[in-house]
């Protein structure tokens, strides 16, 4: 008994020496839980991805976060489940909840911070900067915002180049199976994305997400239909979409997809998403210059 005690004492002493010998290390940064794909993407883009121990299930669709454990749907979090991952800080979109669970997390000593979800470029900048400051890396945040601005500038230039021709009409649809089709009206992330490409949202007379009405789709006369990538298979691809009442009557439209994260929130890769949509719609707006990136 005594011998073991002294042995442990020796080990402890060695550790103490080792600790002194090693260069002084700052207190380890707390582990993170990130809720909401745009938030998760921002945290990874800021270089704090190795601190993330849990994400919500829509964030898990991001390739960089695919190996992180999921804590379930962002609006139906479980306090104990979140705590069990041993994180000290939760960064979430405004959707993270339900509120009583966030309250429980705070009571259990976890830091919880949520960021507004405004679908504007200004909102995206503020979100990136806010997260960067919370992670103690404001410079990286500034760099990320600068990169976003540069990407968007490029996209805006490209949009003005094709100004002479008629801007393409894009209809953004969020679908989970053909039974639940919602079109994105104004004030949505998809609407912002479409505007930034220089195109017109074919459903901009609507506010927010609205169920797809067949006649309204015909009246909107979209040249392109924009879907989040994961939605495409749920409606049976372009062929499935073409069979839907309404879209079946619109001739010659083309399918455009973006990553789910870009359809749901404006993250640091917004500029690239805009460029991708521009690439996809460019041939129709008859421009040869827009090809180069």
């Amino acid at each position: 008994m005594r011998r073991t005690a002294s042995k442990w004492g020796l080990v402890a002493a060695l550790f103490a020496v080792a600790a002194h010998a090693a260069p002084p290390v700052a207190k380890p940064a707390p582990k993170l839980i990130t809720i909401g794909p745009a938030i998760t993407q921002t945290v990874f883009a800021l270089g704090a991805g190795d601190r993330v121990v849990g994400v919500d299930d829509s964030s898990a669709a991001l390739p960089e976060a695919s190996k992180v454990r999921t804590v379930g749907y962002q609006r139906a979090l479980s306090a104990e489940g979140v705590l069990s991952l041993g994180a000290g800080l939760l960064l979430g979109s405004a959707e993270a909840g339900p509120p009583p669970v966030l309250e429980q997390l705070k009571q259990a000593g976890m830091k919880v911070e949520t960021f507004a979800n405004e679908p504007t470029v200004e909102g995206a900048r503020a979100r990136i900067q806010g997260i960067a400051e919370r992670l103690g890396t404001p410079e990286q945040g500034k760099a990320l915002v600068a990169k976003l601005d540069a990407d968007l500038k490029k996209a805006a230039d490209r949009a003005t180049q094709v100004k002479g021709s008629k801007p393409p009409r894009i209809l953004a649809i969020y679908a989970r199976g053909s039974g639940t089709m919602m079109v994105a009206g104004s004030g949505t992330v998809a609407d912002t994305l479409i505007r930034l490409t220089g195109a017109v949202n074919a459903a901009d007379s609507l506010q927010g997400y609205k169920p797809l009405g067949a006649e309204a789709v015909v009246a909107a006369a979209p040249e392109f239909v924009l879907l989040p990538a994961s939605s495409v298979s749920s409606v049976g691809g372009a062929e499935g979409l073409a069979k839907l009442p309404g879209l079946s009557q619109v001739k010659g439209w083309k399918l455009v997809t973006v990553e789910d994260v870009d359809f749901m929130g404006l993250g640091p890769n917004l500029g690239q998403a805009v460029a991708r949509v521009q690439d996809a719609v460019a041939p129709a707006s008859a421009t040869a210059k827009g090809g180069g990136k």
Partner: protein, 361 residues
Amino acid sequence: MSASEAMPVPASRPVPSRLPGARPWVTLGLLLALMVLVSLAVGSMTVPPSAILGSLWEALGLGEASERLDAMQRAVLFTLRLPRVLMAVMVGGVLATTGAALQALFRNPLVEPGLLGTSSGAALGAVLAIVLDVTLAAHVGPLRMLVVPGAAFVGALAATVLALRLGTGGGRTDTPRVLLAGVAVSAGAFAGMGLLTHAATDAQLRTITFWSLGSLGGASWETVGAAALPLAVTLGLLLSEARALNLMLLGEREAWHLGVDVERLKRKLIFAAALGVGAAVSFCGMIGFVGLLVPALLRIALGPDHRRLLAASALSGASLLLASDLLARTLASPSELPVGALTSVLGVPAFIALLARKGAA
């Protein structure tokens, strides 16, 4: 009048003439105590089971804990699991007891609180509050957290009172008419919810879906405290009428001749049901099937004597909801399954087996 005599409560045994024996209490009580301990010990966060009893003693000021929990474990045990377990015990107990009492009152084994319009009224209130959230938020400030449970509670009471009013003619409460009125009120509430979901945003729709699936995840000491009074009052009101409910099994007129104030009993029990179910639904969302299943199973096991049936329902309902909640928070950990769906998953096969047995008999 004649319709109320159409479906007597099925008695697989004759009403026992002896007083309730002690055995079912001991068994069901021990089962509940075991479920409470298991629920406190198991979860996504590891809390050493050996330390739990000691920590509970210490928290009650009864002695020193021999094993120390770290701060996080203490927080999980005392701010998350303990209130949640208490909420599950109270809500499960009240739902099952209410089911048992209403089945006796309406002399129909398929009656559950949902049939009086109580649950759908609560749901309509909650959905209304969720859809109006942004408008309300500006006026209620810090009370915002209580808006949804509050609205659900008001909805539950309003729907039940409406059903009771519609079912009362010439000063008499006509039981089949109350049930029919409950069906109509439910249909109206669902129609209202349908229209509201159309007005709801995508985010609100998802909140509504998750609310309607039920969860004990929001249980805290505040909600437990707020729910304790209505739930305890309900339980007291229901348990105090066991003898009268036994007499009701003979038929309303017979019960009246035996000295039961039938009108008063009906109103008292329906009020208790609205109070208890309203409180349960408002804090935990819709948790189906407990009120239907538990009394139906116990009636087969224990016979129809309500002096045992009501209290046994309370104990078993509490155990069933604890078990369901335990599965809900551990099966998919660290995320959580909806407990309302799990009670049905556990309950439906048992119920079908029960029906099949009845068919064969």
